[in-house]
Every structure is written in C-alpha cells, then in structure tokens.
C-alpha cells in the first residue's frame, strides 16, 4: 500500500495545477458560458498532450493511465475549466482499441476532438452527448454496434443546461462507421463509460474541494451578530462533515482509478461507487457553501454558484443517481460474483510485502493547510 503519488504523478499534478489556475480562472469560466467551451484553452490543453496521456505509446500517446487522468480531472474540476478533457481522453482510449491510425492520429495530435455518448443511441440520435456540441467525432453504442459519427458542422445546436456543458443531441448519419460489433464492442463501450464515471468522480472531488475552500474563505471573512460566521457551531460542523466526505471521495476516486489501471476485479464497482459518492459529496458541499454566503450565494457575481450548478449537472447527465445505487448492488451481489470481491482482498494476488503498523513513537501529526489540494492519501 502506498497512497502517495509517484514522483512523475506529483510533477504532473503540480504542472497542471499551475496551468489550470493560470489559464482557467473564474473570468475564463464565466466568459465561456453558456456553451462551456473555450476553444483557445482547448488548443492549449491539446498542445500539452493531455487528451492523449492515457493512450498507449504505440498509438502515439503517453502511455499513462487512469490515475494520471484522474489527477488532471480533479484539477480541471477545481477550476471548472471549460474543456471536455474527460470526454476526449475517454473516447480517445476507446478509439485506440477500435479505430485505425487515420482516426487516431488527429486526435493524438490535438487537431480533432472526440467524445463519447453516455447512453446507447435510440434509433438515429445519440441524446445529450457531453461535448457533443463541439466534438468532431462521437462514439456511441447502438444495440451491439460501436459507431463512430463524424460531425462536419460544429458546434451543433448546443442545448442550454444547468451545468454549462457543451451538450448536444447528435444525429446518426447514414454514412456512419461501425468500429466493432458484438460482445467485445459492448464491453469496450461500457469500459469507456466506466472510465468517464471515475474521471468525473475525480472532477467532482475537485469541485467539492474548491467549493469547500470558497465557503471557508467566506465564513472566515464575514461577520454576523458581531462574530465571524466561521465561529457558528452549525456552520463548523457542516464544514467538518463536508471535509470528511471530500477526503473519502478523493481516496475512493483514486482507488477506483488505480483499480482500473491494474484491472482489479472490483474496478467496475469501484468506478460506480466513486462516481456516486463524489456526486453526493460535491453537491452537498457546494450547496452548503452557497448557503453560508447568505443572499450573496444567490447572486451571479459570486463564484460559488458556478460550482453549485456543475456539482449537480455534471454527474446528472449520466442519469439518475438513485438508480445507480441499485445497479451497484446488483453489480456487487448478483451471482456469480464472489461475495467479498474487494480490491487487495482475497482472490487478488497479494501485493508486495509492506511493513506492519509501527510501534515506535511516531512524529507529531502533520498539519495540512486547507487550501493546498493534497495527494489522495494525505487528505
């Protein structure tokens, strides 16, 4: 067990953190509304090679994995960057397995943008496709066929929505490309949707963390009834509950990413869990932070509403959260799954030997500044 990032992951995180803080401040986020897409920012993201970092090296990518993408997604979430990196990266990995170089090369080069429909197509339309309004290519499942749609005209008619997502209904033209058919196509599509979920979980962790900080900043500056708002016990307790949930959501999101990378049997259920838990955590945190702002939280002038709307909308585009819990239960407990199929447990090959709990006097507890997004293990 090692909950630290590797040196490379740490370096990536620091680079991206600086990048998003600099390139996607709230002014940029606001300017990109309502479409939710900043073409210039996307070009820069593409030039950094981010959409292709998890594409295998023999396809021209950087050969990294879901943990690295989750790092990028968390930081994207923190800054609400108006770029469909999660969609592009997910669709890119799927296309790397099912499409040829002619499709893949412009994606890896950042010249074209691909996205993924989260719901199988019904008849001739893929509905509510994230980034569908700005993508050149859309991958969608229809029955057992994995389809690739070219979108010659973009953006298509974007649909106004709560989360300022470049959402569109994408018609399926007659001249579609069938990437694959049958169980392999279906499995590939579901793996991609799963990866979209775990990356969105990471983005929601970023949203939640930043929403908490915004709330903290506010209550530590404003006074009411002669005292700092931050000194009210009900506010403190809610902030503490949210900070706790965010730590849990972050650990779970990175566990899900790790499980995806090392192909644990529990990877599907962990992706579902991390998505559900991060969704609840982000919405509750943003909602309560907004409420702590009093009337100001309701004004467009304050940033917290940007987080509140996305915390609700980004996961909702994948469907009803409550149904997700029921699906998870079946995923976990329908036969023939082993009853305690959890990562690092039985029927997993044992990990490398790790030292036991120490009995030597440890050092003092390590303090973490609240405004520093730490590694997942560091809370």
């Amino acid at each position: 067990m090692n909950l630290d990032f590797t040196d490379e992951q740490r370096a990536l995180r620091e680079t991206l953190r600086d990048f998003f803080e600099k390139e996607s401040p709230p002014a940029v986020v606001r300017a990109a509304e309502p479409l939710g897409f900043d073409a210039a920012l996307w070009r820069t993201v593409a030039e950094l090679g981010l959409p292709a970092i998890a594409i295998p090296e023999d396809h021209g990518g950087a050969g990294a994995g879901s943990v690295e993408l989750a790092i990028a997604a968390e930081l994207l979430g923190r800054s609400l960057a108006p770029v469909p990196l999660i969609e592009a990266a997910t669709a890119g990995r799927l296309l790397a397995s099912h499409a040829g170089g002619a499709v893949l090369e412009p994606l890896v080069a950042g010249e074209r943008l691909a996205t993924l429909a989260l719901h199988p197509a019904v008849r001739d339309v893929a509905r509510l496709v994230p980034a569908g309004a700005v993508a050149d290519l859309v991958v969608v499942l229809r029955e057992d066929a994995l389809l690739l749609i070219e979108q010659p005209v973009k953006p298509g008619p974007a649909i106004p929505n709560l989360g300022a997502m470049p959402l569109a209904d994408c018609p399926i033209p007659a001249d579609l490309v069938v990437l694959a058919r049958g169980p392999e196509a279906v499995a590939g599509y579901h793996l991609a949707v799963r990866q979209w979920r775990l990356l969105t979980a990471a983005a929601l962790v970023g949203i939640a963390s930043r929403a908490l900080e915004i709330g903290l900043d506010y209550v530590l500056q404003r006074r009411a009834f002669g005292v700092l708002i931050a000194s009210f016990q009900t506010i403190q307790h809610r902030l503490a509950d949210n900070a706790t949930a965010i730590d849990g959501a972050r650990l779970l999101a990175y566990e899900a990413a790790w499980a995806d990378d090392v192909q644990r049997p529990a990877a599907p259920s962990l992706a579902a869990m991390s998505f559900l838990f991060a969704s609840e955590t982000a919405f509750r945190t943003a909602s309560e932070s907004l409420h702590f702002h009093g009337g100001y939280g309701y004004t467009l002038e304050y940033d917290i509403q940007l987080y509140f709307r996305r915390a609700k909308a980004w996961p909702l585009v994948a469907g009803d959260r409550r149904a997700g819990y029921a699906e998870l239960a079946h995923l976990l407990y329908d036969p023939p799954g082993p009853p305690d199929d959890r990562p690092g447990r039985k029927d997993d090959p044992p990990g490398p030997p790790v030292a036991h709990l120490p009995h030597d006097p440890p050092g003092p507890p390590v303090a973490h500044p609240p405004n520093d997004p730490p590694g997942p293990g560091e809370g």
Binding site: P160, F232, V317, A323
Partner: protein, 418 residues
Amino acid sequence: MDFWESDDLAAHRDAARAWADANVRPEWAAEQVRTGCHQTPELHARLAGDGILGAGWPPEYGGTDVDLDFARAVFDELARRGVEADGWSTTSMVAHTILQVATEEQKHAYIPAVLRGEMLIALGYSEPDSGSDVAAAKTTAVRVPSDGTGAPPGGTGAGGTGASGTGASGDWVINGQKMFTSTAQLASHVFVLARTNPDVPKHKGLTLFLVPTASEGYACQPIYTLGGQVTNATFYAGVRVPDRARIGGVDEGWSVMKVALVYERGFGSSTSLEQTLARDLAAWARAARRPNGTAVFDDPLTAERIGRIAVDEEVTRVMSLRLGWLAQRGELPQIEGSMRKLFWTETIQRHYSDALDILGADGVLAPGAAAASGAPAGGEFEHDFRAAVVTTVYGGASEILREIIAERRLGLPRSRRA
C-alpha cells in the same frame, strides 16, 4: 374540529381563468423571464382597476367588495401561467404592517394608493454587511429641520391624499445602501430600515421609513441571480423625507420589523403558496418511458420520491392552514409562521434536487432547451431548482427561524454570542 380550508378556491377557478384570459397577455411570462423582473406594471394596473388588489381590505382604506377567494384564485391562475407578482407581495406585506402600526392618517394616505396600484413598495432591510443580522443595519436617518420642500409621502403616485401636518416634526436625511431590494426597478417606494440612534443597543435604535424612489439622492443598480431574477442594490445619498414617511415610532423599528417579518414569512399573503411538484412529477413520470417501454412512474425509486414530496407538501399545506386558522382567532403567529417557512423551504430544496434526479439526464435541461431536446416541462423543473436556492435565505434564513423556535417555543437559552 375540522380541516375544511377557509379559502376554498374551487368555486372561483373558472371566473379567475376567464379574468386571466381577458387580461393577461401570453408574452408576459416570457418577458418576466427575459427581464428577470417578476412584476408586470400593466397587469398590476388591471388588477387594481378591477378591484382585485383591494379584495378583503377594509372599505375605509380603499378595500373593494371583490371576493377574497376570487382574488386568490386569480393569483393562483397567474402563477399557473408563469406570471409572478413579487412586487405586489412585498407591497402587500408593507401595507399589512402599515395597517397594524401606522397612524390613522398614514393608513389613509398609503393604503388606498396601494390598493389603487399607484404605490409599489420594495423592502429595504438587508445591507451589504447585514443579511440575517438585519438589526445591524448601518444606513442612517438623521432628523433635520423641515425645509418645507419635502415631497408628500405618497411620492409622485400617491399624491398628498389626506396627509396633513407636513414637516411638523422636521424631516429625515437618509444615507446608506440596501441590498436585495427586489422589484425596486419598478417600485414607487422602498420600505427602509434605518439607524436613528447609534448610541443604544442595535435593536433599539432603528426606525422604518417609506422612501419614494423619486427622491433626489436615490439610485438603483441591478443584481443578477442564479434563479434568473434581477434584484437590486439601492443607494441613499442624503435622501430627504418628511416625518410622515416614518412608519412606527422613532427607534421602535424593531417591533415594526417583527410584524413585517411575520407577514414576510407567508402569513396573510394573498398570493398562492400551493405546491404541486409531486403532482407535476407524477404527470411527467406517468407519460415518460424507459428504453424498455415501462413508465418511469412504475419504478419504485421514482414513486417513492414522489410520495415523499407529496407528504411534505401536505405537511406544508396543513401548517399553512394553521396560520389561517390562527389569523381567524386574531393571533399573529410568529412561531408557527417560522415553522412553516422553515419546513417548506428546507423541504423544497430537497424536492427539486430529487426532481432533477428523477428526470435523469433530462434534468439538466434548462428553459430554452425545449425546442432542441425536449426538456421536461420546458425546463421549468431546472429553473425552479435554481430558484429554490434562495428560499432558505430570504425572509428569515433557516438558522434564524430555528433560533426563534428554539428560544420562543422551546425556551432554550440564546446560543449565539452577542
């Protein structure tokens, strides 16, 4: 014991619908969404002209013989057509307060003008540094000798009707800023809470004034909100008003506020608070189909949430009934009103969040999306989800209401540090 509603509107629904058909232009709803101003002057004039504003008010102050239940049915019908009358809500609250605390002369000066639709009153309580802590207002009112030029209290609209003794006690000069002065963009007056004595504990040095928006030194700036409404910041730079603009005693503003806040928390409001989310969701869910062809309503997870919303709506309704019943008995139900507002607003926020979840991916679709992608109810659920956010803040934040209940109903000691 019986739970028959006193305001049975059924008998008046057809008439109200006919009135609305004849008087409400279809484009007004969209216009309110576009402008973010939840008040339509032409409509207000018609409501006044047909005596609907004056329904239920004492005739000596301009009350009409229009049936109050018909008037309520009209406001229900307006709500159903998406036409809000927020400006009338605040005006009506202030008029109720005037009826309770003002001098006979002031009642005659203001209430008839209100009921004729000539005065529209916005609330000027909150300030940039005081929202829930409304008694911390920093806006000042200082008494000065009358300069004899003070406008009559009714401002441009209300004229000097029945007012006498102008300037007898001097004028007041108001300086400060108010936040969230909703409908000020159309209002003739703002009901301003001002500090008249800085040397006493904060609750004891406040006074309320009815300030004409035509006054020199007054300014209004828009504030855009998450729910689409446009509210305002209003500014008072040496605004001069005569003493008869003062509502209630000097330094007695806090007890006036207590009356006003009971009305703000929904008591005695003539506009509708009927909740129909459970029914609207059920209608959608019975028509909507899953990919496998079954109705969404047949999913127990959907039905369960709708059932839960229906329960909370009924609890809210019966709490509202209680307010009406206490009113019949001549009480001013501050605790019961706080309970109703607390319960109603905290639950509707959960309800709208659940509603969007029930809609699934379609839940994100905003008004305007309908044409493109079939947003449920034209995106109204999504809009209402955003608009519900503010309900736990305005008119007494939930924390304040809980404090009122804890201290006055349960007898608990004050929890806040002074």
